[in-house]
């Protein structure tokens, strides 16, 4: 179940991206955090207890929303604009 619910911006152009290998769409103007959390309920697992995390401050301070891109880059989801074709992973390492 999604964490975020869209109340506005529902008619903006769709932006295609991939989440854990599955084709998804976000909206123009989405952050990576919004694009993912309107689909599902987590961004990553915590480093020690492996419990799910889904961001917290949304202003680049808490560092709790890092997600992995297929090319190995780590993105801070709340401050990264969604771009078409992004290939993103939550809570798992990319398989080589």
């Amino acid at each position: 179940m999604a964490i975020l619910r869209r109340l506005a911006r529902r008619d903006l152009p769709e932006i295609p991206f991939r989440l854990n290998g599955v084709a998804c769409t976000g909206r123009s103007g989405d952050t990576v955090l919004t694009a993912i959390l309107t689909q599902t309920d987590r961004l990553r697992l915590s480093d020690f207890s492996q419990t799910p995390r889904a961001g917290f401050c949304q202003m680049g301070a808490c560092q709790d929303c890092w997600v992995l891109a297929a090319d190995g880059r780590r993105l801070r989801a709340c401050s990264t604009p969604l771009e078409p074709g992004m290939d993103l992973f939550t809570a798992m390492e990319p398989t080589s």
């Binding site: 911006r9 949304q58 202003m59 301070a61 560092q63």
Partner: protein, 458 residues
């Protein structure tokens, strides 16, 4: 010939933009560096692309101020060097290290104005790391900048004017609200009556937000002691105690915060002297009423200097820029400076009253069980901090960090620092002042290891 001034301003919120404007008006070309894609700061944050909502929808009563600030930044475009999506991650004497994209470059400055803003001050509670729990500021950004609500039925919890503002904004946007839980007793709100003559607009708006929430049937509770957020992989409810009785509400998201805390890492790296501020219950960089730090050439403005809100930030940003100009030998309109300082002083008198109306819940940290996670990054528990104080005799925050890793993670103590200070103070028999403050470390936020360095400052 005098060497041209090259001031660097960090932060393009209300303080930073007004500082840039005042310098540009004096014929100086400042560099304005900001982490966000678009100016405005968190309070007047802009959408990444336009949508169907009006400025009134986004900023409510502050729409005029928000659009004026954005317009000022646009107007300044060819008179300042504006670097958005850029992180100042270190200050070394007269050089700032600035990361943009995958590159970092040193920028030499003649003067530095730090307008670094604030984040929500939070304390932990059981369940606070669960998906669906956000800060109040985070909940507001979701709505304002992204047009999304956190969950479908959120609880808003904590203290401070933002509690009612965010809840009201959610209601206006059509979201369902499970409850508004204020940690302060209702009686504390009578202090606002003393604030009425000072800032009637703000006080009356606050009352209106609360009244409209109640009129729509939202339960608003006072004197709340949070017990736990319930759920497993995500939030399902919240339990609190009120006059000795436990109460429960079903919800799928929580937005909470206890006023704000200043972002002070760069002031620390710049060598500013710090003082303990009783009102903010935190250490902050010292400055005079014009924004001069104790270090020549370094100025502080806005919530990063001391929590006082957006209106004060605009005034303080301009005042700091005028102080810089005065110090550099430029003529400055003394009557205008006096007006700015008088208005700032009035806002600070009002903030003192606001702190009484929304007091920090001093017993929150003491009530926490030992097994509650205190540090989100390193997952250190409240009990580990208490044990460090009681068994190892730790009385100071940096020693605590070395022994327990509290504040050593990716956020560098932004989220756990206030709580660590409260819990260590309580467990060691000290005070938040006595346990000190976490020293800042460069880089102040994570940088990729493959970042390309572009040589030394010219």
């Amino acid at each position: 010939m005098r060497k041209p001034l090259r001031p660097l301003i960090v932060g393009a919120g209300p303080a930073g933009i007004r500082a840039a404007e005042a310098l540009a008006d004096a014929g100086i070309r400042p560099i304005l560096v900001d982490e966000a894609s678009l100016g405005g700061g968190q309070i007047y944050r802009q959408r990444l692309v336009p949508d169907e909502r009006t400025p009134q929808d986004l900023y409510g009563s502050e729409a005029r101020k928000a659009t004026a600030l954005h317009a000022t930044l646009s107007r300044l475009a060819d008179r300042i060097d504006y670097l958005p999506q850029a992180l100042v991650w270190n200050i070394r004497r007269d050089v700032a290290d600035v990361a943009v994209g995958g590159r970092t470059r040193p920028i030499r400055f003649s003067h530095l104005i730090l307008a670094t803003g604030a984040t929500d001050r939070v304390l932990p509670l059981p369940g606070w790391t669960m998906p669906g729990v956000f800060t109040l500021g985070g909940a507001q950004i979701s709505l304002k900048s992204q047009g999304c609500s956190i969950g479908e039925r959120a609880v808003f919890l904590g203290s401070g004017p933002l509690l009612y503002l965010v809840a009201w904004q959610y209601m206006k946007a059509g979201a369902r609200i499970a409850a508004v839980l204020d940690t302060a007793p209702l009686a504390a709100k009578f202090h606002l009556l003393r604030g009425l003559p000072l800032q009637p607009g703000i006080v009356l708006r606050g009352f209106r937000y609360a009244a409209e929430l109640m009129a729509r049937g939202v339960q608003v509770r006072f004197g709340v002691e949070p017990v736990r957020i319930e759920g497993g992989s995500r939030v399902t409810g919240l339990v609190w105690r009120e006059r000795g009785r436990e109460r429960h509400v079903a919800c799928d998201a929580v937005g909470y915060g206890l006023a704000l805390r200043s972002e002070t890492q760069l002031a620390d790296l710049a060598g500013c002297r710090f003082v303990f501020d009783e009102r903010d219950r935190a250490w902050r960089p010292d400055h005079d009423k014009a924004g001069r730090s104790g270090t020549p050439g370094i100025y502080l403005a806005g919530d990063g200097a001391r929590i006082a809100g957006a209106d004060a930030a605009e005034l303080a940003g301009e005042r700091a820029a005028l102080a810089l100009l005065e110090d550099a030998g430029f003529p400055v309109d003394g009557a205008h400076v006096d007006r700015l300082e008088r208005r700032l002083a009035a806002i600070h008198r009002f903030r003192t009253i606001l702190e009484r109306a929304f007091p920090f819940p001093r017993d929150w940290a003491d009530r926490l069980a030992d097994n509650v996670v205190l540090c989100r990054c390193e997952e250190v528990s409240v009990g580990q901090v208490r044990a460090a104080a009681q068994d190892l005799g730790v009385t100071e925050l940096n020693r605590l960090k070395a022994l327990t890793r509290v504040g050593m993670g990716r956020c560098q103590g932004r989220m756990c620092g206030s709580a660590a200070a409260e819990i260590l103070a309580s467990a060691s028999g000290g005070s938040p002042e006595a346990v000190g403050r976490l020293r800042a470390q460069a880089p102040i936020k994570p940088l990729p290891l493959d970042i390309v360095s572009e040589g030394e400052a010219a």
